[in-house]
């Protein structure tokens, strides 16, 4: 009557579990995974195409120093990842290929305060630690 189910269940008992302990064992990401964007300041010309192609218009172009600490400023994108879809349209539409997708999706990205979700160009270019300036 229900023997096939019971036989299938018994066959499953010795097999090792498929699940894993999440925080300890990290998820292995595919190489095309779209995490937090990486900005290459040398290529970016501040044209703002990524700003107006973003579906949730979460990108804004602001003046930011070229290299950390220098006083010469240029226009760079600033992404509000609170509204970002991580869809990658800005990465495709960039004429100079200045934006590429990184692999951070939990460590540097989850924040306590709403205002910290605003990733300024230094953080995007990974010149500054992503956690810097956050309120716990």
């Amino acid at each position: 009557m229900v023997l096939k189910n019971i036989k299938y269940a018994l066959k499953k008992i010795p097999q090792p579990p498929v699940t894993r302990m999440y925080p300890e064992v990290a998820t292995e990401l595919s190489d095309r995974f779209r995490g937090l964007q990486i900005l290459d300041k040398s290529k970016c010309i501040g044209c703002g195409i990524c700003a107006n192609t973003c579906p949730n218009n979460t990108i804004r172009i602001i003046k930011a120093p070229i290299t950390p600490g220098s006083d010469k400023k240029r226009w760079f994108p600033e992404i509000d990842i609170g509204h970002c879809l991580f869809c990658g349209l800005c990465i495709d539409q960039c004429p100079k290929g200045a934006l590429s997708s990184g692999k951070e999706y939990t460590t540097g990205v989850i924040k306590w305060k709403h205002k910290d979700l605003l990733m300024n160009p230094d953080k995007l270019a990974r010149e500054v630690d992503l956690e810097e300036g956050d309120e716990k």
């Binding site: 019971i6 299938y8 269940a9 499953k12 008992i13 097999q15 090792p16 579990p17 498929v18 302990m21």
Partner: protein, 346 residues
């Protein structure tokens, strides 16, 4: 045949029975926690996932954590629920479990040849008594249905009535057929009579019907209609939380342990194994109870395994399964037992 105790023990007998009873209550609660742990780990293995492994070594303390959570959670009551019925429903269920506990021998002790069963009381009609006490849970469910003013629990409880009434009859008949064959209603004598040959070989049909009826009596899948999550959210215990839910939750698991005790005592030969007779004192103390517990854990694993391998019946299919198929099988088994009893008796 009452067991004669040496006279120096007789004045202390009620005290000994009291101690055995209290330790049994504690042991049963630990056993219930063990059963819940076995269920979670076994279901995890069947579904190839990990099961609880964060609290304690292999998730052993998970049950302690659950118990603490259940007993410390706030005890809500729906606004216009009938407080008398609502508050005492799960107490009724737990009481029926403890009343059953009194008559079930949990093991035996061999002291220089004389066998003393570890049971709180030993009655001549203990099997009948156990059946009667297990029927008290219906009052508890009746109180839940009318007490918690919730349509889901009303539906769940009505399903419970249909199933319980449907399965008391084959349960009773198979128990009677075992008693007829061994010639006594005392559960200790029934298990002792199976010294050489277990009842499961004498009455295979009776054992199957008893096992299925017991599964239905306890509300274990595939007879899980009263708390089927898919249709009735949590069935008859939808409105319970905190301490009362804890009582109902443990009552179900203790009922499962006592059920597996009944199966081993009536059909799997209680604490005696065919080819084992020993008279050295230390082994005599531990061995019988050990055998009994091993058999109980095996039956428990089978009951739990059924839940994760089989879908659920619809309530009308459950009821006609009991009246149209199990009931005639039980009668057939009764006739077979009477014939066997006459043949063995003569």
């Amino acid at each position: 045949m009452a067991i004669e105790f040496p006279e120096f023990i007789v004045p202390f007998l009620p005290w000994i029975r009291g101690i055995v009873g209290l330790s049994l209550v504690g042991a049963i609660f630990l056993g219930a926690m063990g059963a819940v742990w076995i269920e979670r780990k076994l279901s995890a293995d069947i579904q190839s996932r990990m099961g609880p492994c964060r609290v304690g070594k292999y998730g052993l303390l998970q049950l302690v954590a659950d118990a603490i959570k259940l007993f410390t959670k706030e005890d809500l009551k729906p606004r216009n629920a009938d407080s008398l019925l609502f508050n005492n429903a799960t107490i009724f269920m737990m009481s029926s479990i403890f009343l059953m506990l009194v008559a079930i021998p949990v093991g035996a002790v061999f002291i220089n040849g004389v066998e003393y069963p570890l049971a709180v009381t030993e009655m001549d009609i203990s099997v009948l008594y156990i059946e009667a006490m297990s029927a008290i849970t219906i009052f508890g469910i009746f109180m839940v249905a009318y007490g918690s003013n919730n349509k889901y629990s009303l539906l769940g409880a009505f399903r419970n009535f249909a199933r319980m009434v449907g399965y008391e009859v084959p349960l009773g008949i198979t128990v009677v057929s075992v008693a007829v064959m061994t010639g006594s209603l005392n559960i200790v004598e029934i298990s002792q009579a199976q010294g050489m040959l277990w009842n499961i070989f004498l009455q295979p049909v009776g054992c199957f019907v008893f096992f299925v009826a017991l599964m239905a009596d306890m509300g274990r899948l595939p007879f899980d209609q009263n708390e089927s999550e898919e249709e009735l959210i949590a069935g008859w215990i939808t409105e319970y939380c905190g301490m009362r839910f804890g009582l109902a939750f443990f009552a179900e698991y203790i009922h499962m342990i006592l059920g597996s005790f009944l199966v081993t005592l009536l059909f799997l030969g209680g604490w005696n194994v065919p080819a084992f007779v020993s008279n050295n004192p230390i082994l005599g103390l531990i061995a019988p109870t050990g055998f009994l517990l091993i058999k109980v854990v095996f039956v428990l694993m089978v009951i739990i395994g059924m839940r994760w391998a089989v879908p659920r019946f619809r309530i009308d299919q459950v009821v006609d399964l009991s009246w149209k198929r199990l009931f005639p099988l039980a009668l057939l088994n009764l006739v077979w037992a009477v014939g066997l009893g006459l043949y063995l008796g003569a």
